[in-house]
C-alpha cells in the first residue's frame, strides 16, 4: 500500500513539483545506469515542451538525450529496437493525443516481444506521455485514452498523482523488464510541491495507494483526478465518510486493494477524465461486482468525461469531473 511513497524522515529531500520529479527520476536513473537514455521531440537542447527533461542534455550529452523528428512511430519503433538490444530507452510522446502514430509499435511490437520471442527478448522500454485536460490546449492535446492501452496484454500502464510517486514509479518503470506506458497528469505538473527524496527509490508498480481512509463510500481514481476527488471527500466530511484510492497503476490493476476497500464500504464511485463508455471505470465496476456482489449495496457511480471528443477550452471545465460533480456522484452512491 502507500508506505513506500512516504518519504522517510531520515532521508534528504527536496521540494519538487510533479514535472520536476519526472526530471529528477530520469536524472537519477541515468546517473545510476548508463544504459538508460531519453529520446523524443525537443527533449534534448530544448529541455522538453513541459521542461521534463531540462538539463539532461547538458549533463549526459547527445548520445543519451536524443532529439528526434516529429515521428512518433519512428521514436517508439527505434526505442523498441534499442530495448531489445539491451538499452533502457525512455521515449517521450509530446502529448498523449499524438500517441496514435505509435499505437501499432506499442501494442503490436513492444507489448508482444516477450511472447513473440518466447521469452528470449524482453522490451524494457518506457513511453512517457503527458495526458489529460484542463490546460486550455487546442484539439488533440487533452485526451486520456488509457482504455485502449490497458486492454493490451504485455503492457503496463502507470499514472502518478504526486511528485514523490512520480519519481518512484518512474524509477520502477525504467527498471521493469517489460514495456511501461507512463502517463503524466500535465494538469498538475506544477500544481503543488512535495518533499521528494534526493536519492533513488522505487515505488512498486501494480500497487494502489489509499489516500484517505473512510468507511461509507470507496472512490477509485488516478492522476489529475485524485485532487478534486480528495477535495470532494473533504467537502462531504460531515455527511459521508469517503475513502479515496489512487490506483497509480492501471494495468495490472491492484484488485486486492480495490476489493478490500469495497468490501469495507459496499459502495463505490470511479472518477476518470476519459469518456464513460468503454472507459476503465467499466472494468473496475465489472471486477467489483464479479468478486464482491454480495457486499454491494448500490450501483457503482462512474463520474467521467462525456461520450464526445475532448472539447476545446471554452467547454473543458464542463467536460472534466470537478469537485462538485464528484460530490454529487458520491452522494448518489451513499444515498442509494
Amino acid at each position: 500500500m502507500a508506505t513506500e511513497t512516504e518519504p522517510q524522515t531520515d532521508r534528504e529531500t527536496e521540494s519538487l513539483t510533479l514535472v520536476q520529479a519526472v526530471q529528477d527520476g530520469l536524472r537519477t536513473e541515468m546517473e545510476r545506469d548508463e544504459d538508460v537514455l531519453v529520446m523524443g521531440e525537443d527533449v534534448g537542447k530544448n529541455g522538453g515542451v513541459f521542461r521534463a527533461t531540462e538539463g539532461l542534455y547538458d549533463q549526459f550529452g547527445e548520445e543519451r538525450v536524443i532529439d528526434t523528428p516529429l515521428a512518433e512511430s519512428g521514436i517508439v519503433g527505434t526505442a523498441i529496437g534499442m530495448a531489445a538490444y539491451g538499452l533502457r530507452p525512455v521515449a517521450e510522446m509530446q502529448f498523449m493525443g499524438f500517441i496514435y502514430p505509435a499505437f501499432d509499435q506499442i501494442v503490436s511490437h513492444a507489448a508482444r516481444l516477450r511472447t513473440r520471442s518466447r521469452g528470449r527478448f524482453t522490451c524494457p522500454l518506457v513511453v512517457r506521455a503527458p495526458y489529460g485536460g484542463g490546460i486550455r490546449a487546442p484539439e488533440h492535446h487533452s485526451e486520456s485514452t488509457e482504455a485502449m492501452f490497458v486492454h493490451q496484454p504485455g503492457l503496463k500502464v502507470v499514472v502518478p498523482s504526486t511528485p514523490a510517486d512520480t519519481k518512484g514509479l518512474l524509477t520502477s518503470a525504467i527498471r521493469d523488464p517489460d514495456p511501461v506506458l507512463f502517463l503524466e497528469p500535465k494538469l498538475i505538473y506544477r500544481a503543488f510541491r512535495e518533499d521528494v527524496p534526493v536519492d533513488s527509490y522505487e515505488v512498486p508498480l501494480g500497487e494502489a495507494a489509499v489516500r484517505r481512509e473512510g468507511s461509507d463510500v470507496s472512490v477509485f481514481t488516478w492522476g489529475a483526478m485524485t485532487r478534486p476527488t480528495l477535495e470532494a471527500a473533504d467537502n462531504l466530511a460531515d455527511e459521508v465518510d469517503v475513502e479515496v484510492v489512487d490506483l497509480r497503476t492501471l494495468s495490472p490493476l491492484d484488485d486486492d486493494t480495490i476489493l478490500d476497500s469495497f468490501k469495507k464500504t459496499g459502495r463505490a464511485a470511479v472518477v476518470h477524465e476519459a469518456p464513460k463508455t468503454g472507459g476503465l471505470a467499466g472494468e473496475i465496476t465489472a471486477t467489483i461486482q464479479e468478486e464482491a456482489l454480495l457486499y454491494q449495496e448500490a450501483p457503482i457511480e462512474r463520474i467521467t468525461g462525456f461520450d464526445t471528443p475532448f472539447p476545446l477550452y471554452a467547454l473543458e471545465d464542463y467536460y472534466l469531473p470537478e469537485a462538485a460533480r464528484i460530490e454529487d456522484g458520491i452522494r448518489r452512491a451513499a444515498g442509494f
Binding site: 493525443g97 499524438f98 496514435y100 502514430p101 499505437f103 501499432d104 506499442i106 501494442v107 503490436s108 507489448a111 508482444r112 511472447t115 513473440r116 484539439e139 488533440h140 485514452t145 482504455a147 485502449m148 490497458v150 486492454h151 496484454p153 504485455g154 494495468s251 490493476l253 476519459a274 469518456p275 463508455t277 468503454g278 472507459g279 476503465l280 471505470a281 467499466g282 472494468e283 465496476t285 465489472a286 471486477t287 461486482q289 464479479e290 468478486e291 456482489l293 454491494q296 448500490a298 450501483p299 457503482i300 462512474r302 461520450d307 464526445t308 471528443p309 472539447p311
Partner: protein, 335 residues
C-alpha cells in the same frame, strides 16, 4: 428497414463471404461515390475472396489495390470521404488497425465535432479478426475495445450472413466513420439472405434466441458459440436468451436491460481478453441501470490476458468457446 426476417420474405442460402460480396457489389452499383480499396482487394479479389469479381466489373477507378500501408489507407479514406466519396477500405487483419490509429482516432472520429457544421466522414474500414487458424499473435485478435472509448467512431460486428450484408450496406450509407469487423473464421457460415434489396440500421441490438433463465450478450463469432451453448443448456432445462448487439459502439443497451430484467442472470461473451473489454462495459451498464434485477454477478467470458498464442494446443485453450459460455451460465445460476 427490415430488422427481422419475416416468414414471407424470399431468401437464398448464402455464406457470409457471398453476402458481403453482394453487399459491396450492390453498393458500388447503386452509388458511384462508393470506392473499394486496400491490400490485394482488386486483382486478387481479396485475401479471403470477399471482393472477387468487383475489380473486373467496376474497373480500377473504383476498385483498386494499394501498397501495404495502413496509415495511408486510413488517411486517404478520411480525405476521400471529406471530398465527397464513400470509401470502403480493407485493412487486412484488425491487428493492423493501430497503424491507421491516428487517422481513425484523431481525424475520422473528430471531424464532425471539430467543424460543428454538416462536415462528416462517411467511410467504412473493413477489417478481419478471429482466432483458431494458427495465425499467431498478429492475425486474429479482436480489436473492438480499442475503439469503444473513442466517441465519433461506430464499431460494427455482425454475426449472420443476412446481417453482414444488411449492416455493411447500412455502414456504407451511414454518414459517420464505421469500423466494420469481420470474423475470418466464419466467412463460410451460411444462412438465409433476403433476395430483395434491404439494409439493416446500425446501433440496434437483436435478440437471437428467446429464453427466460439467463441472458447471454455475445458479439461477432461468439454468437455461434452462444447459440450452441444455449442448445446444450436447453437440454438441461435452462433456457437462454441471446442478445447480439451487432453494433458495439454506440451500444444499444435497451434490449440487454430488458432481457436481464426478465432473466436476472447475465453472461457476456467475446473473443478478446476479458480485462478492459466489451463485456466489462456491458456489466457496468447493467449494474448502473438494472442492479436490483441481478441475481448473480455478471460473468464475463473472454480470452486470458495474453497475446494470442501460436501453438495449436495453446490457441485452442486460449479461445473462448461454447463450453466456457455453458459453464459460465451454470455458475451464474448456481450462485
Amino acid at each position: 428497414m427490415s430488422q427481422q426476417l419475416d416468414a414471407e420474405t424470399e431468401t437464398t442460402t448464402q455464406t457470409i463471404r457471398e453476402s458481403l460480396n453482394q453487399a459491396l457489389h450492390e453498393e458500388l452499383e447503386r452509388d458511384e461515390r462508393v470506392l473499394l480499396y486496400g491490400e490485394d482487394v482488386a486483382e486478387y479479389g481479396g485475401l479471403y475472396k470477399i471482393s472477387e469479381g468487383l475489380y473486373e466489373e467496376f474497373g480500377e477507378e473504383r476498385v483498386f489495390d494499394t501498397p501495404l500501408a495502413e496509415t495511408s489507407l486510413g488517411g486517404t479514406a478520411v480525405g476521400a470521404a471529406l471530398a465527397g466519396a464513400r470509401p470502403v477500405v480493407e485493412i487486412m487483419y484488425a491487428d493492423f488497425l493501430p497503424i491507421a490509429g491516428d487517422h481513425l482516432i484523431n481525424y475520422a472520429a473528430k471531424m464532425y465535432f471539430n467543424y460543428g457544421d454538416e462536415t462528416s466522414v462517411p467511410m467504412v474500414v473493413r477489417s478481419m479478426y478471429g482466432t483458431g487458424d494458427g495465425h499467431g499473435l498478429h492475425h486474429g485478435q479482436s480489436p473492438e475495445a480499442w475503439f469503444m472509448n473513442v466517441p465519433g467512431l461506430k464499431v460494427v460486428m455482425p454475426s449472420t450472413p443476412r446481417e453482414y450484408k444488411g449492416l455493411l450496406k447500412g455502414a456504407i450509407r451511414d454518414d459517420d466513420p464505421v469500423i466494420f469487423l469481420e470474423n475470418k473464421m466464419r466467412y463460410g457460415e451460411s444462412g438465409p439472405v433476403p433476395d430483395e434489396e434491404y439494409t439493416i440500421s446500425l446501433c440496434e441490438s437483436d435478440v437471437k434466441r428467446e429464453g427466460t433463465d439467463a441472458t447471454i450478450v455475445a458479439i461477432g463469432g461468439m454468437v455461434y458459440e452462444a447459440l450452441e451453448a444455449a442448445e446444450r443448456l436447453s437440454e438441461q432445462g435452462i433456457e437462454c436468451e441471446i442478445v447480439d448487439p451487432r453494433t458495439i459502439s454506440p451500444l444499444d443497451t435497451g434490449p440487454i436491460l430488458e432481457s436481464v430484467e426478465k432473466t436476472n442472470i447475465l453472461v457476456t461473451a467475446q473473443e478478446a481478453p476479458t480485462f478492459g473489454g466489451f463485456g466489462s462495459e456491458v456489466a457496468a451498464q447493467v449494474i448502473d441501470d438494472a442492479f436490483f434485477y441481478l441475481d448473480a454477478p455478471v460473468k464475463r467470458v473472454g480470452a486470458p490476458f495474453t497475446p494470442i498464442p501460436f501453438a495449436e494446443n495453446l490457441e485452442e485453450a486460449y479461445q473462448p468457446t461454447a463450453d466456457d459460455i455453458e459453464s459460465a451460465v451454470i455458475d451464474a445460476i448456481e450462485t
